[in-house]
Amino acid sequence: MSAGAGRPPSRARIQYAAVVRKEVLQTLRDRRVMFMLLFAPFIQTIVLGFAVDFDVDRVPTVVADQDRSVESRLHLRRVLADGTLRRAGEASSAEEGAAALDRGEAAAVIVVPPRFGADLDAGRPAQVQVILDGTDPNRSNTAAGAVSRYFGEESIRRAESRARAAGLPAPARVEVVPRLYYNPGLKSPPYIVPGIAAMLLVVVTTIVTAMGLSREREQGTLEQVAVTPIPATVLLAGKMTPFVFIGFFDVLLLTVAGTWIFGVPLRGNLAVMAVATLLYLLSTLGVGLLISTMSSNQQQSFLGGFLFTMPAMLLSGIMTPIDSMPGWMQVVTVVNPLRYFQEVARANMLKGAGFGDTWPQLVALALFGAVLFGLATWRFNRRAA
């Protein structure tokens, strides 16, 4: 390429340009496919960004105040005050509250027993009962945490004032003060949106490539191209080029939507993101190619692509943290390109990580890309021959 403009372009370049042109024309001609590739990801990002909110708040709660004292009313009002729990009704007993859980009208019941206020004033141990609907562990954990934290703090306050009244030294107290990095509001979208990028790219590129090639094979047009003097590497590179651009366009769209709509901070150097996207696309396109060489029709290509993408998304740490997976699963995540891309995307956008921090992931992505693409080309060649 540096040889100067005077020399005619090499044969490989002419062939490559021709294949790219043919692919671009073919992709542009099918408007519905274009829509699927360009705008569907945008719609998905919007829906995902708004829908995936693991913040638990406004848990419907039934209160059973059996004490009906000033004290019990005060505490019940305060425990509901921070918005984690929402008052969804009253009950006269624990049993009646539990029945509301059965009917799905509430997810938590707080029972304040009779003589609660009197016990507290007299210095006798007082107890509050909480009954939870445990079907959603995340929600029940948060609800239990909110109630325990409120009454725990109240308990410490009581113990201190009692010690003071009795002239004793205050009881020991430990405070763990948190300092939150990167996402102090603990918002879901800034974390989820970079993860969506990893998911969308694999959905858009892998399955579409696999099915596109199978379709050409079904229709017999692949054979026509195979008899031309274009070598397989040039053919495949040309076929993949439009998808690289579509992938970049989708990432760009996602980044813009992420920053404007969902407040993703974009703290890092965008060059890191561009390099990561390119290396990642090499892997996802390589997998699509590989699947198409192993399938005899579009249906099998689709199911094969599906069989790869679903577990790959699950074992990537996009939705759930890798640390809490069982050991054998953590081992599987090591050979998953999605894992490395989501790590780079999140570290880059949220934490401002540069090349110095993310080079191990980038090297891993490059390795996967080279191996997968190489393997796919080799199989494609063998099959075409």
Partner: protein, 380 residues
């Protein structure tokens, strides 16, 4: 024979003939059938083991600047419960770099003088630096850190012979899923998800394939009505879907101990109504798309994501913005997830899932009617 001459008899015979043709198609492509039946089991195992919102083994680095008995005790309180796994010493000044490189998720900094403060009875402070990029993990870590601090304070006070029993206690009891296992929550949702995907995509693909190859026109040339073709095509896939449901429930109960407290018949009824709707949706997509590539993308967009995200399977619907909550009402997976959780986990009966069943029935009838109508319009 006499039955076959009556009108309903002939109707049934023709529907069965179309079904038989479809079964032959499915048989000829055993790889697709195997994928349709193996995939749900694989996915179920992966989801069941892999999706755990219960955070544990969070990597934690400790920077103990106090180096006293008390500070070591606090560090131990964090690491001994299994929710944190120690990753060696951390340096608070390098927190940013450590977080960026995924070297640790949290750093516990115990400042000099912690032990002295605790012995004096004054509030003893430690600092927890937390990589809060992942809000779910961060939230749970915060809750756990609070509980540990409370317990440590109580332990220290108890050791000093003061206030053995706290003045106020909270007793928590949990119904339905007392061990708070994510799998129990996930499996009913996953049943809806996996059935939706295979039902919509398999029908969309096979029918779109027939359009592409032109064999659909041959079918129209035969003396069968549209409704007979539609029902005949859907019947075998209803069977596959039902086998899937039983597989999912079998693996769910045996591997993940998901209880079946309610009536199994009610589960199957709910499953059938849901499947009918999903198959109708697949058919509708294939009639509109007529090309396998578009059909799969449209199928994925209309079934995969909504039944994963808007069904309440992973993310509670109550948390969503109102427009999405409204949208979730036209997604049948929402009703199946709710019905399955009620029947399986709570043991509720017909009366409490009546509304869910009705909603799925309405969707199924509406979408099959719509697909049948579009059928003729396309061919004319």
């Amino acid at each position: 024979m006499s039955l076959a001459r009556t009108r309903p008899g002939r109707f049934v015979a023709r529907v069965l003939a179309i079904s038989w043709k479809e079964i032959l198609h499915i048989q000829r492509d055993p790889r697709t059938l195997a994928l349709a039946l193996v995939m749900p089991v694989v996915m179920l195992l992966l989801f069941g083991y892999g999706v755990s919102f219960d955070v544990d083994h969070v990597p934690l680095a400790v920077s103990d600047q106090d180096r006293t008995e008390a500070s070591r005790r606090l560090a131990l309180a964090f690491t001994e419960i299994g929710e944190f796994s120690p990753v060696g010493g951390g340096d608070a000044d390098r927190a940013d770099t450590l977080f960026r490189r995924h070297a640790t998720r949290a750093i516990l900094v115990i400042p000099d003088g912690y032990g002295k403060d605790l012995a004096r009875g004054g509030p003893a402070r430690a600092e927890l630096l937390l990589d809060a990029a992942d809000p779910v993990t961060a939230n749970q870590v915060l809750t756990k850190a609070d509980a540990i601090a409370l317990a440590e304070g109580r332990r220290a006070a108890g050791a000093a012979g003061l206030h053995a029993s706290p003045p106020l206690q909270v007793k928590v009891s949990t119904r339905y899923n007392p061990e708070a296992r994510s799998a129990v929550y996930i499996v009913p949702g996953l049943a809806a998800y996996l059935m939706a995907i295979t039902a919509v995509l398999l029908t969309a693909l096979t029918v779109a394939g027939e359009w592409e190859r032109g064999s659909m026109e041959q079918l129209f040339a035969s003396p069968v009505s549209r409704l007979e073709i539609v029902l005949g095509k859907l019947l075998p896939y209803l069977g596959i879907g039902l086998v899937q449901l039983l597989l999912i429930l079998g693996v769910g109960t045996n591997v993940f101990d998901v209880p079946i407290l309610g009536s199994p018949l009610l589960v199957i009824l709910a499953g059938l109504l849901f499947l009918a709707g999903m198959l109708g949706q697949g058919l509708f997509i294939s009639v509109v798309a007529r090309n396998q590539l578009v059909a799969t993308q449209a199928g994925a967009l209309s079934s995969l994501l909504p039944s994963l995200l808007l069904s309440g399977m992973l993310v509670p619907i109550d948390n969503m913005p109102v427009p999405l909550q409204v949208l979730s009402r036209v997604i049948p997976a929402r009703y199946l997830v709710d019905a399955l959780r009620q029947i399986l986990l709570k043991g509720n009966g017909f009366a409490s899932v009546r509304g869910d069943l009705l909603a799925m029935l309405i969707f199924a009838v509406a979408i099959v009617a719509l697909a049948t109508r579009r059928f003729r319009r396309r061919i004319a």
